[in-house]
């Protein structure tokens, strides 16, 4: 599976695995599945990583 783009279903916060997210401390290439298990959306706080939606289909399902 290549690097994906994920979207918070509540507040539209976007995470692009290829770019990472400096503010969140995730370097380029960090997969969403590698985030801490209790990680929640940094903007709304109400959706955890398992609920993020993959841009262009496929919900995140990998077991962590």
């Amino acid at each position: 599976m290549g690097e994906a783009i994920w979207r918070c279903p509540e507040c539209e916060w976007i995470y692009d695995e290829a770019r990472g997210d400096a503010a969140e401390g995730f370097g380029p290439g960090t997969a969403l599945s590698d985030f801490p298990s209790d990680w929640s959306c940094p903007d709304c706080g109400v959706r955890h990583k398992g609920e993020f939606e993959r841009e262009g289909g496929d919900r995140f399902t990998k077991k962590t």
Binding site: G25, G45, V46
Partner: protein, 380 residues
């Protein structure tokens, strides 16, 4: 009165007039009230005026809430983008920010340079402190937004009550853990507000620091890095307080201690009533269910909502934390408080009365299911 309209092909346009639009200007009166009280004392020489802001919040607002009543008006969902994009509403929140600073500076000047009795100093510390607590409501509204400017304004205004960790703690901690025993900012069934405060105040500080430390550690940075969002606001708060003591003398030290504590206490009061006794269930995967509308207490009382940026429509806020205050909605069949925040704060300060009013309501909301009541035990 402005009407928002959405034209639709082949159907009647959707329209919505926000009846509260101009009434939101009341939020500007809030930081100005203690300023007025100081001015009245200077003009008349009577220190009794210094208590007027507290009399207003605890005495007048509950009466106005009862007289004006409730408002269940909602904007149609289709018009929420227009309503949210209308900059009038956000400019109001921005405008309150300097007002909170002006009020605190005026109070510091008043205490430090005028002939005020010890009782007068205490009164102004209590009144201004309590109202500086509503700066946290402004910081709350701004801190939930995605725009950089609004987030910075949140950090700046949180320097007034010296509560800069709130932004991190609330957005990333409270919203994640709300209505669970793990949340220091959700009160438990049978827990009185004084016990709650002893758990909430240090618990919030600890959680905020931990969350920020973890975020910075992921980027290989120290918790004491300049990128620590909590330190930004604390630095402004500390600088302000040093300037006050240097400029106006050591009398500012007890004044600021009481002022800051009262500001924190007013947040504690709000936190106490917002989720009292309500519990999210744990699923088979060991994770709590998502926060649902029935995990918050709500009130539609017009007056107390106008001075709190719709904070009392709390369920919708937790369901959609980034939604702007003017677009927050009322829903039927949600846990409802019998009064606005002013009245409920008063009840909370008298625990036997609070339990008498609220405990049956908790039981009613959960339909007698004790598995849905937050007793403070961490579910297996």
């Amino acid at each position: 009165m402005k009407t928002f309209t959405l034209e639709r092909a082949g159907a009647a346009p959707i329209q919505y007039t926000d009846k509260k639009r101009w009434l939101w200007l009341a939020s500007l009166a809030l930081p100005a009230l203690p300023l007025g009280a100081i001015a009245a004392t200077l003009a008349t020489g009577s220190e009794w005026f210094l208590l007027a802001p507290l009399v207003f919040f605890y005495g007048i607002v509950p009466i106005l809430d009862a007289l004006v009543g409730e408002d269940t008006d909602n904007p149609p969902e289709e018009l929420v983008p227009q309503l949210s994009a209308d900059r009038f509403y956000r400019y109001l929140t921005y405008a309150t920010v300097p007002l909170y600073f002006v009020t605190l500076i005026a109070a510091a000047w008043f205490v430090g340079t005028q002939a005020v009795s010890a009782w007068g100093i205490l009164a102004v510390a209590l009144a201004v402190g309590f109202y500086s607590g509503s700066a946290i409501t402004v910081g709350h509204e701004l801190g939930h937004k995605k725009e950089k400017l609004e987030r910075w304004l949140a950090k700046i205004v949180l320097a007034v009550p010296a509560y800069g960790h709130f932004w991190v703690e609330h957005n990333r901690g409270h919203h994640r853990d709300v209505a669970t025993p793990e949340d220091p900012a959700s009160s438990r069934f049978g827990e009185n507000i004084y016990a709650f405060a002893r758990r909430e105040m240090p618990g919030a500080l600890r959680r905020a620091w931990t969350l920020e430390k973890e975020r910075l550690a992921r980027a290989g940075k120290s918790a004491w890095s300049r990128e620590n969002e909590i330190l930004h606001s604390w630095a402004i708060a500390a600088a302000l307080r040093v300037v006050f003591v240097v400029a106006f003398g050591p009398v500012l030290i007890p004044f600021l201690l009481v002022h800051d504590f009262l500001a924190w206490w007013s947040l504690t009061s709000a936190n106490y009533i917002e989720h009292y006794g309500l519990l999210r269930r744990k699923g088979p995967d060991g994770k709590y269910e998502n926060p649902k509308p029935h995990h918050s207490w709500n009130s539609n009382h017009v007056v107390s909502n106008l001075i709190s940026f719709h904070l009392e429509r709390h369920s919708d806020h937790h369901a959609h934390p980034t939604r702007r205050y003017q677009a927050l909605r009322h829903f039927e069949e949600l846990p409802q408080l019998p009064g606005g925040y002013s009245l409920m704060f008063l009840l909370a300060y008298l625990p036997p009365l609070w339990f008498r009013v609220m405990n049956p309501r908790v039981m009613q909301v959960v339909g007698g299911d004790l598995e849905r009541v937050n007793f403070g035990k961490v579910a297996a």
